[in-house]
Amino acid sequence: MNPDGDGRGNGLKRFAFALPLMSGILAAAFILDLMLGSVNIPPDAILTIVAGGQVKVTWMNIFWYWRLPKAITAVFAGGALALSGLLMQTFFRNPLADPYILGISSGASLGVAFVMMSAGICGAGALFASVGLIGDMSISAAAIFGAFAILLLILLISSKIQSNITILILGIMVSYISGALVTILLQFTDETSMHTYALWTFGSFSGVTWAHLPIMAVLLVVGFVLTFCMVKSLNALLLGEQYAESMGMNYHRIRFAIIVTTALMAGVVTAFCGPIGFLGIAVPHFCRACFVTADHRILVPGCILVGAIIALVTDIISNVPGTDIVLPVNAITALFGAPVVIWVIVRGTRFGRGVTT
């Protein structure tokens, strides 16, 4: 950052230098996340396990079946959330936009709430009535279905409406409606289901097992690739829709692509990890400030890296190494993200003074 306005914008050069550094930090955070957890596994044991050697069976199992999938999930989820946040901030030219602004996570929450609580409502749901969950996979499926339904709604609306601000407001309204429906469901459910739903909203990287991880990873990588393909148009969008169209960008096609890609990434992460907030809004700002650029060719890989790093750090903190306590992921991300958001508002960052239309 150059507070003196010296303004050397050598973005690409800076990035070329920062990229290996960031990758190094990512690797370090990844390893740290593998090493730290509530069970104390000494580092040399970790090395032995990775090398394929034998240590205590429990330690090996913990490493392969708990720590490793959790760390990989954090990497993908953090990157995906940061990237969706970037897409939404560029698309709406609003520094306070986050991945859920179109109501994606509300849709996912509604799907999850419905599955969790419908068992309690219909007396006919006989066998499962005493049980809140039907099976973990169906929760993820319900979340994706809910997110997808909202996505279709938003796409339908956006095909009829020109203005971005209108879509933004409609997305927010959809969130409210979904939230209201969830509240109604909560009203009629029993304590256990309510508790389970509340737990889901805490967010967690630990719930993804090897069975689910490939699905999540593949879908998110698709999202990453789609975003990469859009960098040129994203840069053009920085000047606004009218300029972007005058430069030859097909606005409706890009709008469709952005909305779908965001919904894909945000929806998948919400489905598997619960609604994790603040990463989407804070990391893009962080990247812009770090790399001193608005060029998406730098920001896209940058956000993936920084998002992954922050998610890993969050995971390490939430497991409070050395103790039994587990803190909800959403609490940690909020503690990190809120100061960044405050900084954005108060300083009126260089991204743009306030909200632009």
Partner: protein, 343 residues
């Protein structure tokens, strides 16, 4: 080089349909053309339909009737990419994009030519730099846009439009937020672009004085949507220019080529001096305070200017009395103190 117009419209009717499918016609039966190397100013009062016309001519909005041809192709036939290579725009609104240098912004103009990742080749970079140089913003290349003044920012946006290498530039009130020196500079740049690079320039503006002087053609829309086009001088001589814009109390002075502010008449004057700059400005001052030339009749006041060396001196004679003043201010003060009966 073909003399065929770059942009042409035939029997164009512009307007829009609102949600109830009712049609609002803004202007109809327009037959306009714009040649290469021409600078056209589109002027008209607010709400007359300038924006609608620009949007229709650039293909953003469909016409209600008639056709628009760009390079002899219907504008609807262009792919977005082809159209971008032929036509670029500069809009009024200030771009708010943080952490972008002038170079980055101008480089965006290469959008229609670069590959999927937007990578700039050497020739792209050269085009960007020369676009910046041609608007006199070469040294701004590494500065962040949010740290520039309005004038500098507008130059960068024009450079961006140039980097797009279009055949035609369309600007929507590009000088609206600029101060006078920058307004003039912008017009100068646009004139140079039109003449030297043989591009067509269409801009809408409220700056009538600048428009008259800089434009090769004027397109004037009045409030009823009637369009008049022609060279500025022809329009002034035919009196159309004045009548299109005159509203109560505002009068277009054809000889001076500008709008004047009418003042209540207080008297007549006769000015005797050599043809000089002092004579011109003294007569302006006298007109400002309400005096018109006597034109043969007996004047209420007579002012004589004498120049001794470099210092002029004014002599005011009125009702037999004479007074000498050292400056026009002096002169005006004395006249103001004196009581005149209007005639």
């Amino acid at each position: 080089m073909s003399a065929a117009p770059l942009l042409r419209c035939t029997n164009l009717t512009i307007g829009y349909r609102n949600q109830k499918a009712a049609i609002k016609v803004v202007s109809k039966d327009l037959n306009l053309h714009l040649k290469r190397g021409e600078l056209v100013c589109l002027i008209g009062p607010n709400g007359s339909g300038k924006s609608t016309l620009i949007r229709t001519l650039t293909g953003i909005q469909p016409p209600l009737c008639g056709e628009v041809f760009l390079c002899n192709r219907g504008i609807g036939e262009f792919t977005p990419s082809d159209k971008a290579k032929t036509l670029s725009v500069v809009l009024t609104s200030q771009v708010q994009a943080g952490y972008m240098t002038a170079f980055d912004i101008v480089a965006l103009g290469r959008f229609p030519y670069t590959n999927w990742a937007g990578k700039l080749t050497e020739s792209d970079k050269n085009i960007v730099l020369s676009a910046l140089a041609s608007v006199g913003a070469g040294d701004l290349a590494d500065r962040f846009i949010h740290e520039m003044s309005d004038g500098e920012r507008q130059k960068v946006m024009i450079a961006r439009a140039l980097a797009q290498e279009p055949d035609m530039l369309v600007l929507d009130e590009p000088t609206a937020f600029l101060d006078l020196p920058h307004k003039i500079e912008t017009m100068r740049i646009l004139r140079m672009v039109a003449q030297k690079t043989d591009k067509s320039v269409l801009l809408s503006t409220h700056d009538l004085n600048l428009a008259i002087r800089c434009a090769d053609q004027l397109w004037i829309i009045d409030r009823s949507g009637t369009m008049i086009s022609g060279t500025p001088e022809d329009l002034v001589l035919s009196g159309v220019f004045g009548s299109a814009f005159e509203i109560d109390g505002v009068h277009f002075d054809a000889s001076r080529g500008e709008f004047t502010i009418p003042v209540d008449k207080r008297g007549t004057f006769s000015l005797s001096a050599q043809d000089s700059i002092e004579r011109i400005w003294t007569s302006y001052a006298l007109e400002r305070i309400g005096f018109v030339p006597a034109d043969g009749a007996v004047p209420d006041i007579t002012v004589t200017i004498q120049k001794d060396g470099s210092k002029p001196a004014w002599t005011l004679s009125h009702a037999g009395e004479e007074q000498t003043c050292e400056s026009i201010r002096n002169l005006v003060e004395i006249i103001s103190r004196t009581n005149f009966q209007g005639r």
